[in-house]
């Protein structure tokens, strides 16, 4: 398997070189040449305006699955302390959309206990069916139990798409299920669409720190599995609908789980809740120091906002890791996002670009953050923010 360049068609325009994140293409006599460090990522195939690049592959492709046998869209619920997490409901709204395009059922799969009297409430969120796997041990999350139950259920019911929250829980069992089923799995999708002709799920996700976006598909196997973070899709509208409820009392054997939960520790400090915050004030490298973050915190306080930061502020220990916003942190979508001294590396952008209003304050007029902001201020944040704080204090007083 390798990338082939048609020397007849290649014009030496170097588009492929620019598209290659691995620096694995060079020009040799004005013809593109692929170097041994190529990883077959195929970015260059898309980039070539002459269609001179192709992938040569052999026919040893793994087993073919009769994909027409698989029908339906699933959302697997995540819960904690007997409450279904928001991301699961958000996935139901996207799942409804996909199921309607495919003209199939949307199923909400819950592994838990004590949900019997809540199923009616859940049924307002637009699914056609709820599968409720009930067992006392499923009060908590166990990767091996989830893997066992979901795999068995998939083999029996054969859904074509499974959506799972990209949380520490979802990202723990989804790969294990995918491996057992030999199913394709795409992590942290920010866009999901259907190619109706093939019924393939087109899964778009940020990669390489969000510098580039990749659209992934699983053409020859089913189910197609995807994880999605909280805040990417909207909550569903509540509707009245007849929902078919299938309840299965499940009995586990002792050997089904080799791990046991010793205890759960909750940190006593005020929990950081960036995901639900209406306003977020975030700082980046431009804040300058841990001490200077006091200013950003003051601004957050007068606004009743949550405090966040870009990856570098966590790496430099200016902020606690649970305040990191971005691809390796949390994804947020507040009404107002104020970015202070954040340059706007794409890794950060993918975590906050869904905010309603973005304000950027940065001293560098060429900072990429301005490409994503609604209001931009070029200037020194150490001068601007104190005045902004005073102005907001006055507004707050007037409101009272």
């Amino acid at each position: 398997m390798s990338i082939i360049i048609d020397a007849e068609l290649c014009t030496g325009c170097a588009s492929c070189m620019e598209s290659c994140i691995y620096d694995a293409i060079e020009l040799d006599n004005n013809i593109a040449k692929v170097l041994p460090n190529c990883t077959l990522c195929r970015a260059c195939i898309e980039a070539c305006p002459e269609e001179a690049i192709s992938l040569e592959r052999d026919d040893a492709k793994a087993q073919k699955v009769d994909i027409s046998q698989f029908k339906g869209v699933w959302v697997v619920a995540e819960h904690y302390k007997n409450k279904i997490q928001k991301v699961s409901f958000q996935l139901l709204s996207k799942g409804r959309e996909l199921a309607d395009i495919l003209q199939v059922n949307l199923t909400f799969v819950i592994l838990g206990t004590d949900f019997d009297d809540k199923l009616e409430e859940f049924s307002q969120y637009g699914m056609d069916e709820i599968i409720y796997i009930k067992s006392p041990i499923l009060k908590d999350y166990y990767s091996d139990l989830y893997t066992k139950v979901i795999t068995e259920l998939v083999l029996e019911t054969q859904p074509e798409i499974i959506l799972i929250g990209a949380t520490a829980t979802g990202r723990d069992f989804a790969p294990r299920v995918a491996k057992r089923l030999r199913a394709g799995l795409t992590a942290d999708c920010t866009g999901l669409e259907i190619d109706l002709e093939t019924r393939n799920l087109l899964q778009t996700r940020p990669t390489y720190g969000g510098t580039i976006m990749a659209t992934i598909r699983t053409p020859s196997s089913r189910p197609q599995m995807a994880t999605v973070r909280a805040g990417i899709f909207k909550m569903p509208e509540k509707i009245k609908k007849n929902v078919n409820i299938r309840k299965i009392e499940y009995e586990f054997k002792e050997q089904d789980s080799v791990s046991k939960i010793v205890k759960v520790i909750s940190k006593t400090k005020t929990p950081v809740n960036l995901e639900d915050a209406k306003i977020i004030v975030a700082g980046g490298r431009g804040v300058g120091s841990k001490e200077n973050f006091k200013l950003i915190e003051d601004l957050a306080n007068v606004l009743g906002a949550e405090l966040g930061g870009s990856r570098i502020t966590i790496e430099l220990n200016w902020l606690d890791p649970d305040r990191q916003i971005g691809q390796t942190g949390v994804t947020v979508s507040p009404k107002l996002y104020i970015a202070c001294g954040i340059s706007g590396a794409i890794q950060h952008i993918v975590g906050m670009e869904n905010s309603n209003i973005i304000v950027a304050i940065n001293k560098d007029p060429d900072a990429p953050i301005f490409n994503f902001a609604h209001y931009g201020i070029v200037g020194n944040l150490h001068e601007i923010i104190p005045i902004l704080i005073e102005e907001i204090k006055i507004m707050n007083l007037n409101k009272e």
Partner: protein, 264 residues
């Protein structure tokens, strides 16, 4: 333990004018999370006299990250390198790693008692899928997003961060696999003596698909269920309203706009 060579992406930027990658100064590095995995392995080596083997899959130049791991103090380094491994998604990658691990375990006659340590995720692909898939293929329990670990004889007790403010303490028997978070420890720097040894004496062992006796339909692009349909640069979303004037004016304008937007 597993390591991956990645581009130092936190420095990769897009040139907003040409919409292409700015690649200057981007080096290949050990995936930052894998450094924590390395550090943990080395601590266990010091405390429990275990042997530490680092495994990586990648092109021949990934040998660099294994040399660095050797310099930090690991005992043995193995690189899985073959053109047939290229283009692998996480399923094919975990399969290849599993083949190598099984081969090593057989040679060491330690199929019963081992611990695999991975970084929770890589900064390039950032899927975090390989560790659970690897555990599944090896048929061993996994604990992901680990912040703390206690090893005693045949079992481990770990702290797993499963929500921003909540940690679950889990106990499991060996063999097992864990993936560690960046806050588990502060990775050491290689010593001068370690560097000399790593670059002058130590060997990196190479395994290709023949050595692993790999089924060509299960590795590389062939063994991958997912494929990349297209790659593109994220588009510029909005044109900002730039606020100009004195600091006071700028602040007043901003507050007015936010009032009009019904934010304030």
């Amino acid at each position: 333990m597993c390591v991956k060579q990645v581009p130092g992406v936190s420095e990769v930027r897009i040139d907003p004018k040409t919409n292409t990658l700015v690649r200057e100064g981007v080096l290949s590095i050990i995936n930052p999370n894998d450094r924590n995995a390395l550090e943990l392995a080395l601590i266990l080596k010091e405390e429990h006299k275990v042997e530490v083997i680092a495994l990586s899959m990648g092109p021949p130049q990934a040998e660099e990250v294994l040399r660095e791991a050797l310099a930090m103090g690991i005992d043995k380094a193995i690189l899985l390198s073959d053109k047939a491994f290229a283009g692998a998604d996480t399923l094919a990658t975990s399969h290849t790693l599993a083949l190598a691990i099984k081969k090593v375990l057989k040679e060491f006659d330690s199929e019963e008692n081992y611990l695999i340590i991975c970084g929770a995720q890589a900064v390039d692909g950032d899927t975090g899928q390989v560790p659970p898939e690897l555990a599944e293929e090896l048929g061993i329990p996994q604990i992901t997003y680990v912040q703390n670990l206690l090893l005693s004889e045949d079992k481990i007790i770990v702290e797993r961060k499963f929500r921003a403010t909540e940690i679950v303490v889990i106990e499991t028997k060996l063999p097992a696999l864990i993936s560690v978070l960046i806050d588990i420890n502060k990775p050491r720097y290689p010593s001068m003596a370690g560097i000399m040894k790593a670059y002058e004496k130590a060997n990196v062992i190479y395994f290709d698909s023949m050595a692993l006796n790999a089924d060509s339909s299960k590795i590389g692009l062939n063994g991958s269920m997912t494929e990349v349909k297209k790659i593109f640069f994220p588009e510029r979303k909005v044109n900002p309203i730039m606020l100009e004037g004195s600091t006071e004016e700028v602040v007043r304008k901003l507050c007015q706009y936010l009032k009009d937007d019904k934010i304030f």
